[in-house]
Amino acid sequence: MSVAPRPVRDNDAMDGARPLLELTGATVRFGADAALDDVSFQMFPGEVHSLMGENGAGKSTLIKAITGALALDAGTLTLDGRRVDFATPHDAQRAGISSVYQEIELLPNLSVAENIMLGRGPRSRGAVSQRLMRARAREILAELGLEIDPASTLGTHSVAVQQLVAIARAISTDVRVLVLDEPTSSLDLDEVAELFRIIRELRSSGVAILFVSHFLDQVYEICDRVTVLRDGKFVGEYVTQELLRIDLVHKMLGRKMSDYKERHRASVDEPEAPVFLSARGVDSAPGIANADVDLGEGEVVGVAGLLGSGRTALARALTGVSHLDSGIIRIEGSAVSLDSPRRAISLGVVYSSENRLAEGILGHLSVLENITLAVQAQRGVFRRMRPARQRELAQSWVEALAIRPADLDRPAGTLSGGNQQKVLLARLLALAPRVLVLDEPTRGIDVGAKVEIQNLVGELADNGLSVMFISAELEEVLRVGDRVAILREGRIVETVPSSDMTVDSLLALVASPDE
């Protein structure tokens, strides 16, 4: 895949012409926090604009402000030079601002035509004509060069096609601004190419497209300009091709990574640590095929790969969460069968899910109950830990991990993301595991907590644990991992010492398809 910079488009509309959409001095407050603080933002017709920033930088707030889902506490939004205040997202849609989100917000049980046409257009006496809807849908799909049967049920199509239908719906009325929020997360490379073709066509017909994605290479491929937000503030607006990747990342992160303690990395010359867990030929459909990986004692293996490359599938296969179709997992040399999380835990292999809210934290239970849960589950129903012992255990972990606020009886759901992640780690660490598989442990966490967790991982490895660290952020994977396993399309392509890699070389390995 080419990562060479595309030539800058010569577009008069972007030099001195009036922006199509403009935010000036936009401020949105939630309580005392400012999610957006005096932010400026502009989009011109016929451009693809990227919005970049860490989680919590204010991207989704800005999108909500533009699409009428939120009201501004200060500042103005103008469309075509005229000030607008959208009361609801429908007002924004009527004004020509449409959005397509990562979660397909369509109806899988209705036809493609109905998904494109229902709720749009004139409401006529309550009657609908399937024939007319199909005809109109066919026109719209043709405009995008898509051959999808309008009469077919939406749910019978792949996620990629459903996303295209969502876009078809978005452009079915006169759209001026199209917001695409993480549109490529579930797409493979061919589907991404198709999506980009459509984006380019829309661009040439004068639509302004806001492309929000965490895939840097895609941003560089398709976007003309990029706006960077950090901590709710506007950092800058740049022409994509004039901004080096490393500069972009620095602008997003803002601070230097000097807080991170460098671990003593085993260089290639040093003898390798004994392998604690080894996997061979692991197949777990869908997602991971024929994977081989070794986790040595006291080492951190980073796992890098694009979304959909099988990172989570690998993690779940190694920890008993997902079923293994074939393959052998050995712990200290002997083959084991990890057929449930419970079994894996009993063997010392623990897993932290990337989906902290849905698969991790039990919000209504207290911090204490969350931390002691896994230990209690291992002991079984009839051997309850004495309340005093529970409190002791939880307290020790709260202190060790600096969980704040240090109130054991507080419902865990009231903690911030970073602290919730620490509670989850405490739960796992209380089991005194040998292998820790962490899937996106620092996602959506403020930078301070991020660094704390990264340091913790290093300390755990120094104490002899084997850690598998999965992250979408390549810099993080390189920083934390002693070795990096590179996943592509469900296979571990290579495993390299991280001291041999840079972000760019890692990026190239992660992204290039087999030639």
Binding site: D73, S346, A358, G360
Partner: protein, 348 residues
């Protein structure tokens, strides 16, 4: 933590007290307890005794609801249990024999346990929605009970059997001891072992619990087994009370009263944290309300109207409260209530 407890049991306790107060004003002899031949009698005693079947069913329902499920089949299981017991007794040469009665009861409760296990199998092993899974038995169960009794209302004359519902042990009705034993047993098992907190975990988030190594499947299965078993015992008490097996009337609508008792007691229908004490209070509230309605001369067939009103009032009151509490927990981001900027209508 103390604030939560106070919050959760405060309203049910207050409601019960209010009901008792109203009753004792309207009916001066309401609070009177008399002793005759070493046994206690009185309106309060009646309430305690009559609430036994509902108490057992509601206890089981609490556990099932805590796992995020529901058991609509408890009435039907009661019918089956009564039918089995009475058929055994009726078919035996000496219905008054204590041994026969014990065997009959044991067999009936065993059948009920199996039915509970069946529900548990559908929900925990096959992953079927609890409403649907238990709806099947709710539908078919009474048919089974009718088959067992051959379509008739089997009556028996058996002193040991009648003792269950009408007899006295020490100073209180035997049925009250059954209730108390069930409450004590469940409370002890749930709170002194880890079963309580693990059940709550499963109800709050089954998948997260599974990942944490909790035996979710077993816990859910177990809850339905307990629910079925308790319904079986409740069916015995009911049958003992009318000295017959009436497959159509046994436990009719009891699942709804049980759900109401659980909800009144503060346990959320969404699963998770549950309160045995709350359910006990809920059952007493319902039973007292029923007694009040009957005392007012309302035919018992019409009493569901009052309970409908209670259910509606309770869910309406709970609804904004739940939303308010939840938004505090998840820190949902609502824009500040700041003076809105002037809105110019956007020309379409």
């Amino acid at each position: 933590m103390t604030r939560i407890w106070k919050h959760r049991l405060f309203w049910p306790s207050a409601a019960l007290l209010v009901l008792i107060t109203i009753n004792s004003i309207a009916r001066p002899r309401f609070l009177t307890i008399t002793m005759r031949d070493g046994d206690l009698y009185g309106a309060l005693i009646d309430i305690l005794r009559n609430s036994a079947p509902l108490m057992l069913v509601a206890l089981g329902m609490t556990l099932v609801i805590a796992t995020r499920g529901i058991d609509l089949s408890v009435g039907a299981v009661m019918a089956v249990s009564g039918a089995v017991a009475l058929t055994v007794i009726d078919g035996s040469p000496d219905p008054g024999n204590l041994g026969t009665v014990l065997v009959a009861i044991g067999f009936a409760v065993l059948v009920a346990l199996v039915l509970g296990a069946w529900n548990g199998f559908l929900v925990a092993a096959l992953g079927i929605q609890p409403i649907i899974a238990t709806l099947v038995l709710m539908l078919a169960g009474r048919g089974v009970a009718l088959l067992i009794t051959g379509g008739f209302i089997t009556t028996v004359n058996s002193a040991p059997f009648s003792y269950i519902a009408s007899g006295y042990l020490l100073v209180l009705p035997f049925a009250v001891f059954v209730s108390a034993a069930a409450i004590a047993l469940i409370a002890v098992v749930e709170r002194r072992t880890a079963l309580g907190v693990l059940t709550e975990a499963v109800g709050i988030n089954p998948e997260a619990s599974r990942l944490a190594g909790v035996r979710s499947r077993s816990i859910v299965w177990g809850a339905y087994i307990v629910s079925g078993t308790l319904a079986g015992v409740a069916g015995i008490i009911y049958a003992s009370n009318i000295r017959a097996a009436d497959a159509n009337s046994a436990g009719w609508l009891i699942e709804l009263y049980a759900i109401l008792a659980v909800v009144l007691g503060g346990t959320s229908l969404a699963g998770g944290k549950f309160s045995i004490a709350g359910t006990v209070l809920g059952v007493l509230i319902i039973q007292t309300l029923e007694a009040t309605i009957l005392f007012l001369g309302v035919p018992s067939a019409q009493s569901p109207v009052f309970f409908a009103i209670v259910v509606i009032a309770v869910v309406m009151v709970q609804s904004p409260w739940v939303r308010g509490g939840l938004s505090k927990l998840t820190r949902s981001r609502r824009p500040q209530a700041v003076a809105e900027p002037e809105r110019t209508k956007v020309a379409a």
